[in-house]
Amino acid sequence: MQLWTLTRIILCFLLLITCTAKANDSLVVIVHRDNPNQRLSQYQLIDLYMGKYAAFPDGTLATVLDYEQGHPLRIEFLTTLTGRPMSQINAYWSQVKFSGKASFPQAYQSIEAILKEVASTPDAIGYVPETALTEDVKVVYRFVQ
């Protein structure tokens, strides 16, 4: 019984550490490591992720990757990027999508899937927590904490 209690305490502690790490884990915007674009501005990211203009600063058509609707990273990314709540973002996207002007970015379930797709697609752009970065991708935007 004591062993079980100890195990539960350790598990709770580990969970607390993990959650704290996630909360401090800022998002970074990534592209393929051979992508010639070095930096993107906040406005350029808004254009890409709000369906206004789907290209990199050098004029190359971008394949925009996102997480599935309701994913915590998607909510964090879009609300931080635009400074608006999800309800306003969804209302805006309803105008864009249902008038046939643009489509939602391709949606993925996990950080690993985004990393894999960006690493293998020269014109892809996505975002992941900074701690998940690998050498196969390049950071083009960091959110200032």
């Binding site: 058509l61 209302a91 309803s94 008038s99 489509s103």
Partner: protein, 409 residues
């Protein structure tokens, strides 16, 4: 022929869905709306194609709708989109159920081409006015949006997008045809065909601002049967008895007449404060729809999950009222009434004050309430259906209340 091509595209879409199930994105929207009014003679509706209206003690659900959209990205540059919308209609035709069915080809990041049935990019909210979740109003301002029943275009559009440092400029040219019904009293139904539509739309969008202007010109593709009967009857009347007869005949012969739409609009939304306004001018070769000026301005704010808007909208046309025949006989009086009913269909002079409230219940569900106070100087009007028209006590001042639940999925 045109609608058959659209239907073929749509059915091809439908049959290919099972095979492409994994690659197709499905999304949709639904609005459940009830409107109540204290008007006894002017039946409230929000677009002239709506077959139902609300009167005192007789609420209407006509603004409710449900729609589904399918999207398939067949290559990095080619995408297929189809959308169907179900809402209350006088007639249910497959052609009306298909709101959009088009292929979008992205030539370069700047150039985009769409072919098929697309939304009609006429006013700021025309393309998504059925999607209640997409806008803050309970319904788009009636004075501005009710008069155009057309929502889609069978044809082609070309868009050029140019990014600046903190804004995006968009130039769009479109061309094609469109068809939509106008419904009026006594079961009057007219599928209005617009041929040779040519439009140019310019917009500039920053983080908080949207500025747009549009000029569209089109030709009427048909004349309705009642107007043809009136034309035939008018041709039997001597010019000496009805001096304006020839001008009336010219006006009622709608087919081939050119209709021009010009609009400018601006919207500001910084996530705290909102301003939205549009002005339009509709002109034509026919007295039936001539010199119609309309506009609205809305001011409001977002407060947490709530959005409040105060709106003033107005519309006024200056159609000439025909003086009628010089002689008075029962037959001429009946003919005159019939002529007036058609030439004055768009005789509009009214304004509305509105206050609307939107509450985001979740990130995909919103409840909305809008109270309208309307003052009408001219009844009957194209905007309404009417009861007891012969009554001298027309309602010229009335309120309506709309409550809706709006969902996207």
């Amino acid at each position: 022929m045109r609608s058959k091509i659209v239907m073929f595209l749509f059915l091809a879409w439908g049959f290919s869905i099972p095979a492409l199930a994994n690659d197709i994105k499905v999304s949709g929207f639904a609005t459940l709306d009830i409107n109540i009014s204290n008007s006894q003679t002017a039946g409230i509706r929000h677009v002239i194609s709506q077959p139902d209206a609300s009167y005192l003690g007789d609420p209407s659900l006509a603004n409710s709708s449900i729609g589904v959209q399918f999207e398939w990205q067949s290559s990095s540059q080619l995408q297929w989109v189809a959308q169907t919308v179900l809402k209350e209609r006088k007639k249910y035709k497959l052609d009306y159920l298909i709101q959009m069915a088009f292929a979008r080809y992205t030539l370069t990041p700047n150039w985009q081409l769409r072919i098929g049935r697309t939304g009609l990019d006429l006013y700021m909210m025309t393309e998504f006015r059925d999607i209640g979740y997409a806008f803050n109003y309970g319904h788009p301002p009636t004075e501005f949006y009710a008069v155009v029943p057309h929502q889609n275009l069978d044809g082609i559009d070309i868009t050029y997008t140019y990014p600046l440092e903190e804004s995006v400029l968009t130039y769009k040219f479109f061309s094609g045809k469109s068809s939509a019904p106008i419904i009026s009293d006594d079961d009057f139904t007219w599928d209005v065909e617009l041929d040779s539509i040519y439009g140019l739309s310019l917009s500039a969008q920053t983080e908080n601002w949207l500025l747009r202007t549009n000029y569209t010109t089109t030709k009427a593709g048909n004349t309705n049967e009642q107007q043809i009967l009136l034309l035939n009857a008018l041709q039997q009347v001597p010019q000496t008895i009805w001096p304006t007869r020839q001008a009336l005949i010219d006006s009622l012969q709608i087919k081939g007449k050119r209709f021009n739409y010009f609009t400018v609009g601006a919207k500001y939304d910084d996530s705290a404060w909102i301003m939205q306004s549009e002005l339009s001018y509709i002109d034509s070769d026919s007295e039936v729809l001539n010199h119609l000026k309309a506009g609205y301005i809305s001011l409001g704010m977002h407060v947490d999950d709530d959005t409040w808007l105060m709106t003033l909208s107005a519309a006024k046309s200056n159609n000439r009222i025909d003086p009628g025949p010089l002689l008075t006989t029962p037959q001429l009086a009946t003919l005159y009434q019939g002529v007036i009913r058609h030439t004055n269909f768009y005789l509009i002079d009214q304004h509305t004050w509105s206050i609307s409230w939107r509450r985001s219940l979740t990130s995909t569900l919103a409840a909305k309430i809008q109270l309208d106070h309307t003052q009408v100087k001219q009844l009957p009007s194209a905007f309404y259906l009417h009861k007891d028209l012969s009554s001298a006590n027309h309602d010229n001042d009335f309120q309506s209340l709309g409550l809706s639940l709006n969902w996207v999925f």
